[in-house]
C-alpha cells in the first residue's frame, strides 16, 4: 500500500471538541420535553422482598410512573439475558430488570420511577417502603468457597462454573521435575470508572411506531437487539444511536442494563421522551466490577528455569450474577501463558457467586490476573535458582520461528489458542535497555548509599486482540469528493474518527480532512459487534480498508471509462483519478456524479461531469450487477484473534519510614503490529498505565462483611490523579505485523493495564526483600508486611490487615510465605 498517513502521528480530530467541552454525551441529548428516571436500589446485600409499598409515591406531584417487578409483563418479566453461555457454566444466573422476590447485592434495582425531573424522581424513591427479610450475605472468595451460606438457593457451593483445560500432563511433569515451588496469590476488585457513567434516553414516535434510543454503550447493535426482543418490537422499529461516550473500559459492553430496557419501555408507555443518567454512587454499586481472584500455582522446572509443568488453580469472584458468562476467567486461564511455552499446562478454575456487584470484563478482562500469576511465578523461579529474572523468562519464550504457535487450549472465542506472530526475545532486549536493567544494581547501590531503597520489576504479557466474529464498514464518496465512512462499532474515546480516516484517506487518495467517520449508529450500519477486547482497529480498521478498496475499484472502473484509459494506468491521489504520467485526470467528486445516472446539474461537479460520457447507450443505465452511487461496503471476519504483546518494567522507591511507594521510572515495550497512529497507541498506553497504577497501588472495592461497599465515592475509592501516575512513560515499539489482516495490525486498547499488578509486586518485592503476594498494596499494608518480616519484632501490630499482621495465624503456605520450593 502506498501510504502517507498510516503510521504517522496525526492529531486527533476529536480533541478540539472534547477539550472545549463540545462533546455530546447521552445526558446532552434532549429530544423534546423529557421525563427523568431514577432507580430504587437495594440497601441490603442479600434479602428476600416481602412487600413493596409505593402508595406514598402516588401523592407526589410530578411523578408519572412507579414500577416494580409486578408491573413488568412478557419478556420484560423474564431474567435479563445471559449473553455468552458456556457448557461449563452449569449454574448461570442473571438478574431481572427489577428484582423479583430477592436481592443479591447492594445496588440491585428494585423500583423504577419516572418523574418531571430527577429531583422529584429521587424524592419519590425515598417514599417507597420495602419490607425485607434479611438473608446471610456471602462476601469475598473465602466465604463463597466455604459455602456456609448460599447466594442462590439452587446453586450448590456457590459454584457457577468449574472449568479445566490441560495440555500434556502437568501434574506428572511437576512430580518428575528437578525443582518445584508453589505460590498462593491474591488480587482484589476494582472497576472501570469511566468519566461518563451509564445513561439512556429514549423517544417513541407513535405515528411511525418507531423507537429511538441513545445510550452510552460499547455496542449499539447489541442494545438494539435486546430492546427489540424485550419490548416485542421488530429490529426495524428500533434505532440505537451512540453519541460521544465518556469512556467504557468494558462495563458498557455488558448489556442490556436494566435501565436500557426500562427507559425505552417508559418512553413507549408514557408517550414522552425519558432519560436516565447514572450518578457516581449508582455506578459504584450497580455497574460491574472486576479482577478479584485467589490463585494457587504449582510449577516444576529444570536447572535453567525452564517450566516443565505448570498447574494453576484459581477461584474467580463473579459477584451476584453471570450476564457475561465466563469470559473473564477463561481469559485468565488461557492468557496466563503470556509469551511462554510451558511443556505441560493444566488450569482449573471455579467461578463463584458472592453477594456483591457482578463481574464483567474491565480493560484487560482477566489478563491482569493471569499475567500476575505467571509473572510472579517467573520471579519466584528466578529467586529459587538465583538467576536473573530476565534469563528465566528468556528460556521460556516462544521463539520467533515458532509462529503460528498452538498452545493446545481453547481461547475465549471458542477457537484454538494460536498465536499468529511475535518476537519476544527482541522485546526483552528493548525493555532491558529502556529501563536500564543491567545497570540497576549500580543504581541500587548508589541509592542505598543515600539511605534510599529502590526495586525493579519486569512483567511480560501477550494479549489476544481483535476477536471476531466480524465488523463491517460503508464508505461513500460524495459528489463533493468528500468521503463519509460508517462502521457499526462504537467509540468511547479511542480516536476512531482519526485512525479510521487515516486508513481511508490513504486508500482513496483524498485529504484527511475530507473523511468523516460515524460509529455506533444502527441507522448507518445495522450489523456490527462492538468496541471491546482491543478489537476496533483490527476489526473495523480492516473492514474500512476493505470497503474503501471496493469504493476505489468502482471509482477506477468509472474513471477508466470516462477517461478512455485502462484501470491499470490510473492512480488515485489528491482527490483525483489521473492517467499515470499524463495531465489527464478527473476529480473523484466527478466520478461520484458519473456513478449515478440521475444527474441533475445541481453543482459544479455535476456540470463538469456532463463532458464525460459513461456507459453503453444500448444497455440499462445501471447494469445488472451494479448499483448507483460511489460506495463500497465490506465486512472483515478473521479466522481467529491476533496476539499483541509487550513488556513493562518499573523502578520504584519505597520510603524506609513511611512505606510510601514512588514510581521513579516506568518503561513499556509494545508490539501491536503496524501502528496506524503512534500517538493514539501511546495515548492508549499512557491511559492503561495510569489505570494500572490505580489498580496496583490505589484502588479496591472495600466491601464489609455485610456486603456494604464502604468506599462508593471518588473520595474513598482512590482512582489516581495525574499527580499519582508517572510524569513520563518511556515507550518503545516493536512492529511484528499480524498475518491475519490486510493492514498487519493488532489491538492496542488494553495492553497498558495488563502487567500492572505483576510489575509493581515484582518491583516492591525487589526493594523490600520479602514476597509480595496480595495486590493492590497500600503503604499501610507494606508497613505491616515490614513488621511481619522484620528479623526482630519490636512490637505487636494492633490489628490484622489484609496483607499481613504479626499475630494473624497462618500456615507456611499462606499469602505471606507463599513460596515453598523443593529441589531434587
Amino acid at each position: 500500500m502506498t501510504t502517507k498517513l498510516f503510521g504517522t502521528k496525526v492529531n486527533r480530530v476529536e480533541d478540539q471538541r472534547f477539550l472545549r467541552g463540545r462533546g455530546r454525551y447521552v445526558d446532552d441529548v434532549l429530544p423534546g420535553p423529557t421525563l427523568h428516571a431514577a432507580v430504587l436500589r437495594s440497601p441490603h446485600a442479600h434479602a428476600r422482598i416481602r412487600a413493596i409499598d409505593v402508595d406514598a409515591v402516588l401523592d407526589i406531584e410530578g411523578v408519572h410512573a412507579v414500577w416494580t417487578y409486578d408491573d413488568l409483563t412478557g419478556a420484560m418479566a423474564e431474567p435479563l439475558p445471559l449473553l455468552i453461555p458456556h457448557p461449563t457454566l452449569t449454574h448461570g444466573r442473571t438478574q431481572y430488570a427489577l428484582a423479583k422476590d430477592e436481592v443479591n447485592y447492594v445496588g440491585e434495582a428494585i423500583a423504577f420511577v419516572v418523574a418531571e425531573d430527577r429531583y422529584v424522581a429521587e424524592d419519590a424513591l425515598s417514599a417507597i417502603v420495602v419490607d425485607y427479610e434479611f438473608l446471610p450475605p456471602v462476601v469475598g472468595i473465602a466465604a463463597a468457597r466455604a459455602a456456609t451460606n448460599l447466594v442462590h438457593d439452587d446453586v450448590p457451593g456457590n459454584v457457577g462454573a468449574r472449568m479445566e483445560q490441560e495440555n500434556g500432563d502437568a501434574r506428572a511433569a511437576i512430580a518428575a521435575a528437578p525443582h518445584t515451588l508453589t505460590l498462593d496469590l491474591d488480587i482484589e476488585r476494582s472497576a472501570c470508572m469511566p468519566m461518563e457513567g451509564r445513561g439512556t434516553v429514549a423517544r417513541w414516535d407513535p405515528d411511525s411506531a418507531r423507537l429511538q434510543v441513545w445510550t452510552s454503550t460499547q455496542t449499539s447493535t447489541g442494545v438494539r437487539a435486546a430492546v427489540a426482543a424485550k419490548l416485542g418490537l421488530d429490529l426495524g422499529q428500533v434505532d440505537v444511536i451512540t453519541p460521544d461516550v465518556g469512556g467504557g473500559f468494558g462495563v458498557k459492553i455488558n448489556h442490556p442494563w436494566p435501565e436500557e430496557l426500562l427507559v425505552p419501555l417508559a418512553a413507549r408507555t408514557l408517550g414522552r421522551p425519558v432519560k436516565f443518567t447514572e450518578d457516581r454512587r449508582e455506578h459504584f454499586i450497580s455497574s460491574a466490577h472486576e479482577r478479584a481472584q485467589v490463585q494457587h500455582i504449582e510449577v516444576g522446572y529444570d536447572d535453567e528455569g525452564r517450566i516443565l509443568g505448570l498447574d494453576v488453580e484459581f477461584w474467580h469472584d463473579h459477584g451476584a450474577y453471570t450476564p457475561y458468562g465466563l469470559i473473564v476467567p477463561i481469559i485468565t486461564s488461557t492468557q496466563l501463558l503470556g509469551p511462554y511455552k510451558p511443556a505441560n499446562y493444566r488450569v482449573v478454575f471455579e467461578s463463584l457467586y458472592t453477594n456483591t456487584v457482578m463481574v464483567t470484563p474491565y480493560r484487560g478482562a482477566g489478563r491482569p490476573q493471569g499475567c500476575y500469576a505467571m509473572e510472579r511465578t517467573m520471579d519466584a523461579i528466578a529467586k529459587d535458582l538465583g538467576k536473573d529474572r530476565t534469563e528465566v523468562r528468556a528460556v521460556n519464550f516462544i521463539q520467533p520461528d515458532e509462529f503460528p504457535y498452538e498452545h493446545g487450549l481453547v481461547f475465549q472465542d471458542g477457537r484454538p489458542l494460536t498465536y499468529d506472530s511475535g518476537d519476544y526475545p527482541a522485546s526483552l532486549e528493548k525493555i532491558k535497555k529502556l529501563v536500564g536493567w543491567d545497570e540497576f544494581e549500580q543504581f541500587r547501590a548508589e541509592m542505598a548509599a543515600e539511605g534510599r531503597r529502590v526495586g525493579i520489576g519486569l512483567a511480560c504479557y501477550v494479549e489476544g486482540t481483535g476477536v471476531g466474529p466480524y465488523e463491517g464498514a460503508h464508505v461513500h464518496i460524495e459528489t463533493s469528493g468528500k468521503v463519509k465512512v460508517a462502521t457499526g462499532l462504537t467509540t468511547q474515546g479511542q480516536g476512531h474518527a482519526t485512525a479510521f480516516a487515516q486508513i481511508v484517506a490513504d486508500e482513496l487518495g483524498v485529504r484527511f480532512e475530507d473523511v468523516e467517520v460515524v460509529t455506533g449508529d444502527t441507522r448507518r450500519m445495522p450489523y456490527a459487534v462492538g468496541t471491546f477486547a482491543s478489537r476496533a482497529a483490527v476489526m473495523s480498521g480492516s473492514a474500512i480498508h476493505l470497503a474503501a478498496k471496493r469504493a476505489k475499484e468502482k471509482a477506477l472502473r468509472i474513471a477508466a471509462d470516462a477517461l478512455e484509459a485502462s484501470v491499470e494506468d490510473l492512480e488515485l491521489a489528491e482527490g483525483k483519478v489521473t492517467v499515470r504520467g499524463t495531465d489527464t485526470s478527473i476529480d473523484l467528486g466527478t466520478v461520484a456524479v458519473l456513478s449515478n445516472p440521475l444527474r441533475y446539474a445541481f453543482d459544479e461537479a455535476s456540470k463538469a461531469a456532463t463532458q464525460f460520457s459513461v456507459g453503453d447507450p444500448g444497455k440499462p443505465p445501471v447494469a445488472e450487477d451494479d448499483e448507483p452511487g460511489l460506495e463500497g461496503k465490506d465486512f472483515y471476519s478473521p479466522e481467529r484473534s491476533t496476539f499483541a504483546s509487550g513488556m513493562h518494567a518499573v523502578i520504584v522507591e519505597t520510603d524506609p519510614l513511611t512505606a510510601e511507594i514512588r514510581i521513579l521510572k516506568y518503561a513499556v515495550v509494545h508490539d501491536c503490529g503496524h501502528l496506524i497512529n503512534p500517538m493514539i497507541v501511546e495515548g492508549q498506553i499512557h491511559g492503561g498505565v495510569a489505570q494500572g497504577v490505580g489498580g496496583a497501588l490505589y484502588e479496591r472495592m472495600a466491601y464489609d462483611e455485610s456486603g456494604q461497599l464502604l468506599n462508593a465515592s471518588f473520595m474513598d475509592f482512590l482512582m489516581p490523579y495525574a499527580s499519582e501516575v508517572p510524569e513520563s512513560i518511556d515507550i518503545d515499539h516493536l512492529e511484528t505485523p499480524s498475518p491475519l489482516n490486510p493492514l498487519g495490525i493488532k489491538g492496542a486498547g488494553e495492553a497498558g493495564v495488563i502487567p500492572s499488578a505483576a510489575v509493581f509486586a515484582a518491583a516492591i518485592e525487589d526493594a523490600e526483600g520479602f514476597p509480595i503476594t496480595a495486590m493492590p498494596i497500600s503503604p499501610s499494608e507494606l508497613f505491616a508486611l515490614r513488621k511481619r518480616h522484620a528479623p526482630v519484632v519490636e512490637e505487636v501490630a494492633q490489628r490484622p490487615s489484609r496483607n499481613s499482621s504479626v499475630e494473624e495465624p497462618r500456615d507456611e503456605a499462606s499469602r505471606n510465605h507463599p513460596t515453598r520450593s523443593t529441589d531434587r
Binding site: P779, S780, F783
Partner: protein, 289 residues
C-alpha cells in the same frame, strides 16, 4: 444525587441572615459549600432552609496587621493562600493552606467555613488551635468570640449555637523567635491526610522554649500537644523520638479502609520529628534574618 427539597434565601445584610437563621431551626448556612453541597446531594443532610451568605458585604476580606490575620467568613482558601501579607505575618497559613484539598476546592471553599465544620481531618482547624486563634460569631442575640480551644466539641461538631454565624477568624501573628512547620501524608495529592502535623517552636538560642504540635486525622477533634518537656535537652533524633512518644500518648489513631491505626501512629511519629525540626530551623532562620 439530587438534594431533597429545601428553601433558599440569599440575604443582603448580616442582620437579615441572622434573622433567617434564627427563624428556622432546620436552617443551615451556605458559604463555600465544599462540604455541605456534597452532603445535600447524597441526601446525608436535608436542611429545611439554606441561608446563603455569599451576598453579604465585606465578609470576603483578609485583614492583616502586626497582631495577626483576620479572615472574613467569605475569604476563600485560595485568597488567603495568595495573600502575601498574611503569609508574612503568619507563615503557617500558606504552609497549611497549600495542603487543603485541590486548587478548585480552595477557589470556592472558605477557611472560616472549614473551621466551624470542625473536621478533625482538615488542616485549618488544627492550625487555628495550634496558634491559639479565635472565631467571632454573631447571632440575633449579639456577638461573641470563641477561643480555638473552646471551638471543637466533637467529631464534625463545633460549639456554635444553631443561630450563630461565624463571621471572622483570627490567626495570631508568629512571634519573633518562633518558627512553624507543616507536613501531611495523604494517599493521593489533595486527599484528606492519613496523618498531618503542624508545629510551632520557639527558641532561645539552641534551646527550645516552646514546642507544640497539632495533629489531624489521628484524633477525633483537632488536637494540640505540648511537646516542650521532651525537648528540654535540645533537639536530636532521641529527643524527637521522645516528643513523638509524648504526642502519641495524646492521640487516638484509628483503623479505616485506607490505613491501620498502627500505620497512622508511625506517620505521626515520622511527621512529628520532621515538622519539629522544620519549625526549629524556621525559627532559627527568622532570628538570623
Amino acid at each position: 444525587m439530587k438534594p431533597a427539597p429545601f428553601a433558599y434565601v440569599r440575604p443582603g445584610t448580616l442582620e437579615e441572615a441572622l434573622e433567617a437563621l434564627a427563624a428556622d431551626p432546620g436552617a443551615k448556612v451556605l458559604a463555600g459549600g465544599q462540604s455541605l453541597v456534597p452532603l445535600l446531594s447524597m441526601r446525608l443532610a436535608a436542611p429545611s432552609r439554606l441561608v446563603d451568605i455569599n451576598g453579604l458585604p465585606d465578609l470576603d476580606r483578609v485583614r492583616t496587621d502586626a497582631d495577626g490575620v483576620r479572615l472574613g467568613a467569605l475569604a476563600r482558601h485560595a485568597d488567603v493562600l495568595a495573600d502575601a501579607d498574611a503569609g508574612r505575618v503568619q507563615p503557617l497559613l500558606p504552609l497549611a493552606l497549600a495542603n487543603v484539598a485541590h486548587a478548585t476546592i480552595r477557589n470556592r471553599g472558605t477557611t472560616v467555613g472549614s473551621l466551624v465544620h470542625a473536621d478533625a481531618a482538615a488542616e485549618m482547624p488544627v492550625v487555628l488551635r495550634l496558634l491559639g486563634g479565635s472565631v467571632d460569631v454573631a447571632s440575633v442575640r449579639g456577638r461573641r468570640t470563641i477561643a480555638a480551644d473552646d471551638l471543637f466539641a466533637g467529631p464534625l461538631e463545633s460549639t456554635l449555637d444553631h443561630d450563630e454565624i461565624a463571621v471572622e477568624a483570627f490567626f495570631p501573628a508568629l512571634a519573633a523567635g518562633a518558627g512553624v512547620g507543616f507536613e501531611e501524608i495523604a494517599r493521593r495529592h489533595g486527599d484528606y491526610a492519613l496523618c498531618g502535623v503542624a508545629a510551632l517552636v520557639e527558641r532561645d538560642g539552641d534551646r527550645v522554649t516552646v514546642a507544640r504540635a497539632g495533629y489531624l486525622s489521628v484524633c477525633d477533634v483537632p488536637t494540640v500537644v505540648d511537646l516542650t518537656p521532651a525537648l528540654d535537652d535540645g533537639l536530636d533524633d532521641a529527643t524527637l523520638d521522645a516528643a513523638a512518644d509524648l504526642a502519641l500518648d495524646a492521640l487516638e489513631p484509628a483503623d479505616d479502609i485506607h490505613a491501620t491505626a498502627d500505620y497512622r501512629a508511625q506517620l505521626a511519629r515520622v511527621l512529628t520529628a520532621r515538622v519539629l525540626r522544620a519549625a526549629y530551623d524556621h525559627a532559627g532562620s527568622r532570628r538570623a534574618a
